[in-house]
């Protein structure tokens, strides 16, 4: 976009500025709270001036730090472990969803199985199912039939299945745009279907892959309800530990905000790195139809 910007009424800039403040205000507040000691949080005075400290982060991460922070009397390993669990679950789910989703999307487009309409309809239907609805059957089946409660494999299966319809649907809209001549040329040079797919098609649809992986990662990383029902003490993910540490009274806001901040950092990084792809993923559904 190399358009020239028109000069606008300053009121518009004021409005844009106010909107930006509203959008990031709460996040900024969380950040500053996580950098404060509890004494400072509880005192009314000097909301603006305080000594930032990383103590809360040290408390949270004491288990995985290479040194022992001196202010931590007892080191609670729960969060360090949960962070590892979350990373494993989110990364593996994203990987599997992408590979499987890509192959299915390719088959749907190139071998003309179902029309676009059927696929969008299925995606919409799947989007309609709230995670709370899956709670009962997943709990029952995973515990008594698959015997996968408390394992990474169990929760990864749920996340992959939940994300597949959307990923297939978004990827096929990218694959449709790959010129078929390119594939035919590769085929004449002697490549088989798998080689064509991995060496020709995949590199072209990278932006689609980026959008799909961010959306999958976000769901697997943020999900609470099903993780809470399926996972046990040693496999719990971060959202579950956060909710478990919330008590009615006497919440250690500094520490819990540090935890929240750590959970929020990966999605924030993605947003800044790939906002264009995210917007494509969001708008593709409604605007192009």
């Amino acid at each position: 976009m190399s358009q020239t910007h028109e000069r606008q009424n300053p009121a518009f800039y004021a409005l844009v500025f106010a909107l930006v403040m509203m959008a990031i205000g709460p996040i900024y507040l969380m950040l500053t709270t996580s950098l404060r000691l509890n004494v400072d949080i509880m005192s009314d005075a000097s909301a603006l001036f305080f000594m930032p400290t990383l103590r809360n982060y040290e408390t949270v991460l004491c288990d995985v730090l290479w040194y022992t922070p001196e202010h931590v009397g007892y080191c609670d390993p729960t969060f360090g472990r949960a962070l590892g669990n979350s990373l494993i679950v989110a990364l593996i789910s994203t990987g599997i969803t992408l590979i499987v989703g890509c192959m299915a999307a390719y088959a749907l487009v190139r071998f003309r199985f179902m029309g676009r309409g059927t696929l969008s309809m299925t995606t919409l239907m799947m989007r309609m199912v709230p995670p709370a609805v899956l709670l009962v059957p997943v709990f029952g089946i995973w515990t008594f039939q698959y015997h996968m409660d408390g394992t990474y494999a169990g929760i990864i299966l749920v996340y992959v299945a939940m994300n597949l319809p959307f990923v297939i649907w978004i990827l096929q809209s990218f694959i449709v745009q790959v010129p078929i001549q390119l594939e035919e040329a590769a085929r004449i040079d002697g490549a088989n279907a798998f080689q064509v797919f991995f060496l020709v098609v995949l590199p072209i649809i990278k932006p689609g892959l980026a959008a799909a992986s961010i959306f999958t990662f976000r769901i697997a990383w943020n999900e609470f309800l099903i993780a809470n029902a399926l996972l046990d003490r040693s496999t719990r993910t971060v959202p579950v530990t956060i909710v478990n540490s919330l008590t009615e009274y006497d919440i250690d806001w500094g520490v819990i905000m540090a935890t929240g901040m750590l959970l929020a950092i990966p999605p924030i990084i993605f947003t800044f790195v790939a906002s264009k792809q995210i917007i494509t993923g969001m708008t593709a559904g409604a605007v192009k139809g």
């Binding site: 910007h5 028109e6 800039y13 844009v16 909107l19 509203m22 959008a23 709460p26 996040i27 507040l29 969380m30 709270t33 909301a47 499987v100 192959m103 299915a104 088959a107 749907l108 190139r110 071998f111 199985f113 989007r127 309609m128 199912v129 709230p130 995670p131 709370a132 609805v133 899956l134 709670l135 009962v136 997943v138 709990f139 029952g140 992959v160 597949l164 279907a193 990383w221 943020n222 609470f224 309800l225 029902a229 959202p239 956060i242 909710v243 806001w253 819990i256 905000m257 929240g260 959970l263 999605p267 924030i268 800044f272 906002s275 995210i278 969001m282 559904g285 409604a286 605007v287 139809g289």
Partner: protein, 304 residues
């Protein structure tokens, strides 16, 4: 011969993993849930041991005042949230649809609330609504007003969670509406401008009707998603005080985990799905109507 065979099998080989995962991880559980809703089942029983009770769970729920209240809260929450967010989101999009510097920065920052974990969003708002250290009550106190019991009063609690949801999801509508506006056919707008339509007239007679198909889909997506909001409310109020903020998703999860009534929770899930299905079908039909109308306007504008 073997090569031809492989070639014929290729599409199936590409599709098989996805199909297998969706059947095992999604379709089977959903089918299972429909079946479980006819059972009297608690979590320590295997499903074969549970008694078949027919439609009893459904009838129990209809007579259950708490369930009816919860359904009412869900519908109120979704209706208010969708309407308010549509008005603000579309309004902002119409206002900001011009070439100004910083609009892409605004869009990037606007995505943040949607990307962050709902648990964390709940946490932030619970902190801001905190009776003594929260920013809202501190500001009110500074200005000499009475502090407001944001989350502890049953009248205010619903308003508070609605405000949090509006903060989180209005950007979604804004971004979709802006994308719709920028993909409008320039010719129709040009034609209207040449005919001397004022800014308001352009919005009311050209832009809004042409955007309508997208807006209906947007509203539908938002409506569906608003029925799924759970974590934010769980962290902020856990459904209380009383049942004032207990939306259906939350009630399903509590019925399953606290009251240990899996059959009842499954029946509730089915009711929720039925409500969603009805709303989706209505919106879908409405969308078809609107789309044909938009088509007519586009043609008219181009001919004129």
């Amino acid at each position: 011969m073997a090569a031809a065979q492989i070639k014929r099998m290729t599409p199936y080989m590409f599709l098989a993993p996805a199909a297998a995962i969706m059947i095992v991880g999604l379709l089977y559980p959903i089918g299972y849930m429909v079946y479980a809703s006819f059972l009297d089942w608690n979590p320590s029983q295997r499903i074969g041991e549970a008694d078949f009770v027919g439609l009893r769970n459904y009838v129990t729920l209809l007579n259950d005042a708490a369930f009816r209240e919860s359904a009412g809260v869900t519908l109120t929450f979704s209706a208010i949230v969708v309407v308010v967010e549509m008005v603000i989101g579309v309004g902002l999009a119409l206002l900001l649809d011009r070439n100004i510097r910083g609009i892409s920065v605004l869009r990037t920052l606007f995505i943040l609330p949607m990307m962050i974990a709902p648990i964390v969003v709940g946490l932030m708002w619970r902190y801001m609504y905190h009776p003594s250290v929260g920013i809202f009550n501190q500001t009110l106190k500074e200005w000499g007003f009475e502090p407001i019991p944001w989350l502890s009063d049953s009248g205010w609690a619903l308003t508070s969670i609605i405000i949090a949801d509006i903060w989180q999801w209005t950007p979604f509508i804004f971004i979709l509406a802006l994308a719709a506006l920028q993909s409008l056919p320039r010719t129709s707008l040009e034609a209207a401008r040449i005919d001397g339509a004022s800014g308001w007239q352009q919005i009311v007679y050209i832009k809004l009707p042409l955007m309508m198909p997208v807006l209906v889909v947007t509203a539908l997506l938002r409506l569906i998603d608003s029925f799924k909001v759970l974590e934010v409310i769980l962290v902020m109020t856990n459904g209380g005080p009383g049942l004032s903020t207990e939306i259906l998703s939350l009630r399903i999860s509590r019925t399953a985990s606290e009251f240990r009534e899996l059959g009842l929770a499954a029946a509730m899930s089915n009711y929720l799905l039925l409500i969603l299905l009805t709303l989706t079908v209505i919106m879908f039909v409405y969308n078809k109507v609107v789309e044909s109308r938009a088509q007519a306007i586009r043609q008219q504008a181009e001919e004129a």
